[in-house]
Point group: C2
């Protein structure tokens, strides 16, 4: 998606350790007008699929998922990272290794909100090694719901997550796929 | 706001310890159509104010804030709870006591996204003892930005947060204010 690629080139910052900072428009400050254009693009790409729910993971996926859900006219469920006294014990849960924070955490989705009747679109901001998305896929599988596809804003094409998901036959639509990047500002997108 | 009150009466569940579970439509599964109506109501209530940014806190405020921001045509910043290698050290930070999780955590907002030029609307899902909102107010104050108001979905009117904020002369618009509630399902709203 050209609009997103141009924005990454303009405002993204490459840091040591293959870190791409996009916190001025994606995951700290959120450019909602950009999210709307991304939502429209996913609507086009997943046209004809009987999606009735969007699933994401807290925290930085939530804003994008909410705007996408408005476009699709469906509710969002966000997988929760920590146990809260407000949550039922009757949950699907899985462990996810975080690249960003360097630790393993448990995420949960209440069994009340995901069942074999559901046709799910998974949305997230980043795809790198795929741990977060694999965790969400596991949760959807356990619920018996159907994964209709995965929409990602930015995929790091040089890490293995994207290939792992595509090999499973899942429709994965990453709006910008980074082939390579370096700290001198060079970012190359996959064509 | 009648629509939200009716939804709370229909789908909210009161639990021991003054816990109101609204995770079927607000903070686990999110009813985006409802959020749009809430956003329109805040737009009406804060009419004429020169709001150019919405500030919220991860995680459950983000969805509501994103949909509100679409209505206002402004970006969202969400205060982050944990230190991440993706964040700059140049942040405003404050400590917040969590009622839900029973612990103190640090939240941060990058200095890049909040300055004395900004006119901020703060949005959150819940207001009870006011700790989260007081933390956000402190961050906005330090940045030199102007707080134009606070929009909350559900206020627990029997806890002190709402009064604390109103005493400071801030326009606080809670779309549903619960006067009292009990585990037998009785919920009384403020008129």
């Amino acid at each position: 998606m050209r609009l997103l690629e141009e924005r990454i080139l303009r405002d993204g910052v490459v840091r040591k350790g293959n870190v791409l900072k996009v916190d001025s428009f994606i995951n700290h400050q959120m450019d909602i007008a950009l999210f709307e254009e991304m939502a429209k693009e996913w609507k086009r790409l997943f046209q004809g699929k009987p999606i009735n729910k969007i699933l994401t993971i807290e925290a930085s996926g939530i804003g994008i998922a909410a705007i996408a859900a408005r476009e699709f006219g469906v509710p969002v469920i966000f997988a929760k990272k920590a146990k809260s006294i407000n949550l039922d014990s009757d949950n699907y849960s899985t462990n996810i290794q975080s690249f960003t924070h360097g630790k393993v955490y448990e995420v949960i989705v209440s069994k009340k909100y995901l069942s074999s009747e559901d046709h799910v679109l998974i949305i997230d901001d980043f795809l790198a090694n795929g741990c977060a998305l694999m965790g969400l896929l596991e949760i959807v599988e356990r619920s018996g719901a159907t994964v209709e596809g995965i929409g990602v804003a930015i995929e790091k094409g040089f890490q293995r997550g994207g290939d792992m998901i595509r090999e499973r036959g899942i429709q994965l639509e990453s709006l910008a796929i980074i082939e390579s990047m370096d700290e001198n500002g060079g970012i190359v997108f996959r064509r």
